[in-house]
Symmetry: D2
Subunit: 343 residues, 4 copies
């Protein structure tokens, strides 16, 4: 932590900051510049609250030196985290050499729709089935999901078609229920900073797909992962699902930069969601290819047997035929960058 | 709802859209332009999901005509909603002619700090005491609040100093507990789209202070209010607390435009939080004055007996003396715009 | 400047950075932390390019300590800059105790419209007439302004009604022409980083109204002012005119925080444009009152004799009657905060 | 254009809007909904200014139906625009089946540096040399470019190494000079809405590389292209160079969605700049691969013989060796998606 004193800070103000640092058990390191005095804090700065220093008399700004996340950082663990999923009779690794494919409808709408979706994505190529039982909707009047019934349909699909299940959990009190069905708990973008929920999925020890908030920075995403990991649950996959920008032709802007940046900062796997990242099925194939070429460890894609009848997100759902064609393209791209699809 | 067909959409595609609309029980209204066919949907469009129409063959875009919120809208209720708070022996109206003042520390840190804060803000001029018992913090290693103990300290302060209590509730399972102490339930910015929480505070029937999400639009804020109101709890105050922008000198950007815009769109009271809106106490007085001049129904301001010892948000907390000076300024500004402070 | 080395940077990499700094004539100051080595640069860091240091082997990040602007900063000049405008027989100060009012139509549309606008705003209360002769329009097919003819109409209005003239200059080659008519040169938001234009208005020595770019930070605004001032033209007024955010109900978001922040960082006057800041005339009065209460040194407001016939920006233009009513409100607010309108 | 009247608009207000539309020579088409009256405008809406309608009594909102750009749109021209560049003895097509590579330093720093850069990128694989003679810098104290001298060095490099030249033009009065040297005129991100400059490059008839503004939408980018094309210069390449977001680990966020979106909306070629899109050379290869996989027609990449001595943008410049390795990767990715590099 580096503390920049105001131009003209008095000796007394400087001493006040130094005393405060030393009373926290750290050492202070003074550096008298021409225009400003700079105070460096020697030692692990994480226990010191920058805000408390910033408010001291004569302080202009406080610059943190260390990243605020620890367990999630590459400094803490050099080698990639590989999460092994065993479900429906199959086993696959997320974060290894292979590229994992998760696909399925936005919402689980009926037993038939879930089973049909599972069959179709399995045939086209998928490791996991995605579908929502509890749906975060911006209107209280929209369909809010079929709850536990939907989880049962999904469990049946897992057995029949050998797919792992990834589904969203929206509140701490749902974690136990959803964990008893799902193989991967999804924390949605709107809940990335729902701290009670992060604590609860941290306790659950289930693999977690953590979606980046709509306007979250990568540092905030990694702090959310840190929340989960602080309970010992290290099975966290980060999901880039597009961020809010001024652009209006797309629902979100897929942050493709996030792939190499996260792979530098953290050991956790990076999954990309081009369906939410664009909001329009026409753009999904191009962005999916881009994500694999850039090094994503997996994709999660909305596929619906009949998008025009979908209860939600129809506009961004691929038909099974289009998804199948995309899988073929992705296979070629993965190979061009020295990886392979796991389907 | 207006549906814009692609240039060159076929007669069959147009018929497909019309059939779909009519099968939903609405009437369609065709308008053949030079470059595009436009289809208007006659009737209340809210039950129709724009996404489901957008995905039909030949559709370019769907433009909603009606606002998606209903109970929260001025069309639904012309006159202002006035919420009467009775607590600690006093009664005051939020949303009437008077301007309400809520003040106190970010977090309830100890019994002494809570009582001292309450005494000081009461003397300086305040209707409600704000303080956090459950704290949303971006790091799992930061202080997370004293929980129920803190609520008890606050209840004691209410009795002693005659202040209403406003405090944050972070999860559905906390609503019952927090409701048994607080006079106003705060839903924080990070939870504005925590839908299970919105449902739970909607059921509670307690007055709610709903903070705008960090990157939320006003429409999204009003949809969150709609969630609460859809359970019959109409006692919702909207709180502008600054939005995230590219600006780095401030923590957030106070959206002063939100005051007149919300007052046009909705009948609910509008409260402004200049402490989070700026993130630096030096800027709080100017923005607080601006908010009152622009027509805010109240302010919520962080005040700490000793900001440099605050466990959180010290940098944006006023000292009691500075808060007192600000109250005097605000009194003058309120009168200049034909209102008066309620303290 | 503080240079943070990567965890595990070698002694050789550290020596490389130190050598580079010393070869630039500065002193380096090493600080060996537990996880990172930090190198402080002693001396005026401004001539050193952070990018060149950032690219050296073993460097993780470079944190600048000093603000990059100098002439524009309060450290350079403590007391407020007061710009005296003499025009049309009147004299007024921008940046003093008084609050200046600039008003008029978006575009100068005809001699009659300019004279009528001038007469009306003068009667309602204005120090300067704003109107555009050269118009930046997002479509090449929109009205682009009447050019020099418009400047002549404005000059006539100045003589008749005793108003100073503020008008936009869009290209370096227009500076000479516009300077020969205008009392204040406006640099528009889209041109805030048009560096050849900033150089040209810097050479002109005319007072400049510099508008903040639509997505510019205050630091970037102050760097643009620095460009102008680097040629010796210190007569720069900064104009907050709203920034682009995700909000859709307004055209821009007026950054009211900018008023106290800029007043802390710089000695230059701060003007607010609530017309562009909101984009809708209904919201202009509330935001204008807020700006004066927060401490703005002046306002620039769009007023059109007949907004529904305006060739541009009709939706955000006040009628003369509404402007007159607003001036009365502003007079009261200014007095409540210890200032007075200059009209 | 669809005009939404306010709830409760009077018959007189509706008639006022209809009259206005008809006096502009269009036909109005009324549709009486349950809550609102909607007025459709039949005919080409582009000459009608939405702002002028919005300000009429009783109007709530105006929704445009048609895209505001015409010449740049796929509706106007279905087949891709292919721009043939002949320079330095070679010929290549931008916008055809091949993927074009432009590479070189941020700034032309010396004759030696320019020739050396040209030699190295030519060997590694490049069609065009990029280098700046006129540099837009955020500080007036930074290096501003070597001007015409730099253009001469570049012309020498073209002859020696058979590369086309792409370089930035910053002001209308530079267009003639720069056109006499360059093969492609670059309009920088900060000048995307510098309308006098867009007019000037439109008159020049030279191929133009138009960079998307830092916070510009794609619609605004296409309107800027429309400016250039409105003078008959149809040789416009659009360049996605990253947009400003809240993310701090990268300088900008590369909008990969822009590739498929622009290819749907327009016939113009799309070039991606991963150097500015990320701001850090470590991330350039991943994003460059992603862009080619997503369908970009070309890349423009910063390469410097010695990045740590670069006068600008060193942190985002690849070494020639790293660029060479990247070209090999891109060759494989291009083939995987059915295209090939032109080098």
């Amino acid at each position: 932590m580096v503390i920049i004193m105001k131009a003209g800070a008095s000796a007394q103000q400087i001493a006040g900051v130094v005393n405060r640092i030393e009373s926290d058990g750290m050492r202070a390191h003074l550096s008298q510049g021409e225009e400003r005095t700079i105070i460096g804090l020697v030692g692990d700065e994480r226990p010191v609250d920058a805000e408390q220093i910033e408010v001291l008399d004569g302080v202009e700004r406080v610059l943190p030196i260390l990243r605020p996340f620890k367990l999630a950082s590459r400094d803490f663990k050099r080698e990639n985290t590989v999460i092994t999923i065993k479900a429906g009779g199959q086993t696959f690794d997320v974060g290894g050499k292979g590229v994992v494919m998760m696909a399925g409808p936005c919402a689980a709408e009926s037993r038939e729709q879930v089973l049909e979706s599972a069959r179709l994505v399995r045939e086209a190529g998928a490791n996991a089935l995605r579908a929502g039982a509890f749906k975060p909707r911006s209107s209280p009047y929209s369909f809010q999901g079929h709850g536990e019934k939907a989880l049962q349909w999904m469990a049946e699909a897992r057995e029949r078609y050998g797919l792992a299940l990834v589904t969203e959990v929206m509140a701490p009190e749902q974690v136990l229920l959803v964990s008893s069905y799902a193989d991967i708990l999804q924390v949605g973008a709107r809940n990335m900073q729902n701290f009670p929920l992060l604590h609860a999925v941290g306790y659950s020890m289930k693999p977690v797909l953590l979606k980046r908030g709509m306007s979250a920075t990568m540092e905030e995403l990694l702090m959310a992962a840190e929340y989960i990991m602080s309970h010992g649950n290290y099975n966290v996959m980060l999901c880039e699902r597009g961020i809010r920008t001024f652009e209006k032709y797309t629902r979100n802007t897929t942050d493709i930069n996030a792939i190499p940046v996260l792979q530098e900062l953290t050991h956790l796997p990076v999954i990309v969601d081009p369906s939410h990242g664009t909001g329009k099925w026409e753009y999904v194939p191009a962005v999916a290819r881009g994500a694999v070429a850039a090094g994503a460890d997996g994709l999660i894609i909305e596929v619906h047997p009949e998008p025009s009848k979908a209860l939600s997100d129809g506009a961004q759902s691929l038909t099974p035929a289009k998804y199948q064609a995309l899988v073929a393209q992705l296979r070629a791209v993965a190979e061009a960058v020295g990886r392979k699809l796991l389907v």
